[in-house]
Symmetry: C2
Subunit: 202 residues, 2 copies
Amino acid sequence: MNKEYPSSALERAVGEFAKLPGIGRKTALRLVLHMLSRPDEEVGTFGKVFSTLKQDIHYCKVCHNISDTDVCDICANPKRDGKLLCVVENVQDVLAIESTMQYNGLYHVLGGIISPMDGIGPQDLQIASLVERVQEGGIDEVILALSPTMEGDTTNFFISRKLQPMGVKLSVIARGVAVGNNLEYADEVSLGRSIVDRIPFQ
Amino acid sequence: MNKEYPSSALERAVGEFAKLPGIGRKTALRLVLHMLSRPDEEVGTFGKVFSTLKQDIHYCKVCHNISDTDVCDICANPKRDGKLLCVVENVQDVLAIESTMQYNGLYHVLGGIISPMDGIGPQDLQIASLVERVQEGGIDEVILALSPTMEGDTTNFFISRKLQPMGVKLSVIARGVAVGNNLEYADEVSLGRSIVDRIPFQ
């Protein structure tokens, strides 16, 4: 046998799972065999949900977050502070910030981050629509809440160059030692930043 | 918001992935967002493969392994030793034994293991067809190659009770210390078995 699996249908299903990030061929085989042990109906539903996934998912036309409606629940909520705009990379970041219960403004989801290595440039992201949103007025402060990585810094820099001339207040999320962590386990860069960016003791 | 995600289509897709073993809701969300970043066609294909998975997968009518044909490549191979039959739990075990290149007989895939906790009894497995195969004659030895667990031992016992009256030679795979492992790290039970089941030094 020069093929890995005894069946082409199995081969195909394993291949599809193995395309996903973090799933190797061994895990993929385990998942497919699990599915084969489930009722036909359940497996069929799984397939149908993904057959139409891209057509079923809609995006908020204001903040570009995933949404069921034209304008998402956050953008449509009159209790949220429309003068505050938080720029994030993706849906997960919106969920993470929402779960902190510390933010009551609106969001702008870029849908990615500038990454020349992956061929992602500013034109692939929702940056033009961000500039438009700020241009329309009504926004006092834009908080850049991207990951503290090289790509995040590049994207922050690119956006700040576009927004600074408009006179809007720009801020970035604080970087420093994680709450609850022992100082000795903090990495040097974060510890260094936490000293440089120290704030008055309250 | 009392719902976890901002869209029901997203909720649905995450829920489908999270049903799979070893995939939590965070990983599921990451997988769905990855898919949303892929071309429509690729995601559509993923869905279609699983919509028809259960219909596309066939089983060998002799050994019950997954196969494209009525009789699988191993069962149909005249070079394999038809007098030797190895009883395994599932497809992965066939692949694992094949990759050792140490076995040239045929297989019988039970499709599971007796597990009262999970409600799996002998009638849910390919045990009746194993008994039939042995009854038909031509098989000299049946090797029980199930996992060395309580369930494996129970299944071995059940099968041996059925096959012993037929006069076929029964054997189980050797249990002992793993090759390449330091003795001090071997668990007591395996180490104990390796002493009791010692073999002549060659």
